[in-house]
């Protein structure tokens, strides 16, 4: 098991979703994963792919080259960063002429891509490096009686040629990780569908419709919370839930939790330690239920 990783925060997490970073660092520390900070950082490149593929390749390769200098594999919290770094690593390893072209750009900053580091999203790390058994063993307050739904998001699943650890049509990793906490993970309609976040700013109307679809599908199965593993998906649901309720005249009241927040609760960390206070849609009901349940057992 590798237990030392270079943590690649990305742009969205430190910009808007500190609760994801705080909770991830807490649970990873408990699981014995050591995190090293990036010596220098630039955007992974994904946001620029639509306007300039070459820019995306250069930015991603630059980060990979920096990680190579540290001699450490990369861990990301953002699926977009993981997908991009994985993809570019493979593209440049498979195509020597492309690699040469991109390296000619990196040379300007005294860097070279060699293709020697691997990138994992936190889901993949939890599954492969920590393992379900160890996660189960870390649970001190099983979340029995809690029924939640999962949302993987697109870039930890697709395109499938870059992700071989799960099935994009029927993903299991997040479900099993949720079940490891003792909670029940419910099935619902269109589980693998996009949250709509990339359309924000281009067509808010379409983005909100997609987020609303998800909320209505998980409401149908009476999920008490939606569990995400992506800063953008989290923003899309947590920040917009109230707006969706107003726009469509519907009531959801479903809290959106980062998976590490859920796991953290099961590990006995407090909601304060896991930055529950940052959530727009408050998770009070869940926390009450869990504390009452715990009291009953005592």
């Amino acid at each position: 098991m590798t237990n030392k990783y270079l943590i690649f925060l990305g742009c969205a997490v430190p910009y808007r979703v500190l609760s994801y970073e705080i909770s991830s660092r807490k649970v990873l520390a408990k699981l014995g994963i050591e995190l090293v900070e990036m010596p220098e950082f630039n955007c992974c490149g994904l946001p620029f792919d639509p306007v300039s593929h070459e820019t995306m390749l250069i930015l991603a390769a630059k980060n990979l080259a920096l990680a190579e200098q540290e001699g450490l594999n990369i861990l990301t919290l953002c699926p977009g960063c993981a997908g991009t770094l994985k993809k570019v690593n493979k593209m440049l390893n498979d195509d020597p002429s492309l690699r040469e072209q991109i390296n000619s750009h990196l040379k300007e900053a005294g860097l070279e891509f060699k293709g020697s580091v691997e990138t994992k999203h936190i889901l993949q790390l939890l599954r492969e490096d920590v393992g379900f058994d160890k996660i189960k063993a870390s649970v001190v307050k099983p979340l029995t009686n809690l029924k939640v739904a999962e949302h993987n998001g697109c870039h930890v699943l697709r395109p499938k040629k870059y992700f071989d650890y799960d099935d994009p049509e029927d993903p299991q990793t997040l479900k099993r990780l949720i079940e490891a906490t003792g909670a029940t993970c419910l099935d619902y309609m269109d589980e693998t569908e996009c949250c709509g976040a990339p359309s924000v700013g281009v067509s808010d109307k379409i983005a909100l419709q997609l987020a609303r679809d998800k909320l209505s599908h998980i409401k149908m199965v009476n999920a008490q919370a939606l569990i995400t593993v992506c800063p953008f998906c989290h923003i899309m649901y947590d920040t917009n839930e109230l707006r969706i309720e107003k726009t469509f005249n519907e009531v959801y009241g479903i809290p959106i939790l980062h998976y590490p927040q859920l796991l953290g609760l099961a590990m006995g960390l407090t909601p304060e330690e896991l930055a529950f206070g940052d959530l727009r849609v408050k998770a009070q009901n869940i926390i009450q239920q869990l504390t009452q349940g715990a009291n009953k057992c005592e």
Binding site: L9, E108, A197, V202, S203
Partner: protein, 188 residues
């Protein structure tokens, strides 16, 4: 370019296609670009459009139609179409296309070509400016960066905008956006 509305996305659709609009070289050009190499393999089954979450809520965005138009050589109609920017890059189409067309990548190639000439949505301009100034795609407020310590988080890794600029030297998109005011791609 501001928000894409159904109305703006429809513009030009009513105009009948003229024979002079067909550019038979377009598809061969696309075949040579990384990402759209397989465009001629599309046999118009419609899987991409029927599985596209954006197409479900847009009256105008149809990946299959865009690919068909490109195969026919309707270069300007494809590249000037506002609907291009609606794709959420969810890669559902890429995974499900029976012909391995890599639909999402083809759409990305269209966008890249459009970005070389036309205006692009403002969000991309903002992100590009932020990248060149900070190394991050967003301008993270000082307050939030300073707050990290009190939250028990390590300092935010430093961006290196100078190195970013050096490595992006010669990249067309950044040459364009660094042109003096008035020549910028943005219509804002």
């Amino acid at each position: 370019m501001s928000e894409v509305t159904e109305k703006s996305a429809q513009k030009g659709k009513e105009q009948p296609i003229k024979a002079s609009e067909f550019d038979s070289t377009f598809k061969y050009e696309l075949q040579k670009i990384s990402g759209s190499e397989n465009i001629l393999k599309c046999f118009q089954c419609g899987t991409c459009t029927s599985d596209c979450p954006v197409a479900r809520y847009s009256d105008s965005y149809r990946p299959r139609t865009l690919i068909h138009m490109a195969q026919l050589g309707l270069r300007d109609r494809v590249l000037n179409s506002d609907t291009l920017w609606l794709c959420a890059a969810c890669f559902t189409c890429t995974d499900r296309c029976p012909q391995g067309v890599e639909v999402a990548s083809v759409i990305r190639v269209f966008r890249n070509l459009a970005a070389e000439k036309n205006c692009i949505p403002q969000v991309f301009m903002d992100q590009a400016q932020s990248l060149l100034e900070t190394g991050y795609a967003y301008k993270i407020p000082e307050l939030r960066i300073n707050k990290r310590e009190s939250l028990g988080l390590p300092p935010l890794p430093k961006g290196n905008p100078e190195n970013v600029k050096k490595t992006l030297k010669g990249v067309k998109f950044f040459q364009n956006i660094q042109k003096p005011e008035g020549e910028k791609l943005s219509d804002q």
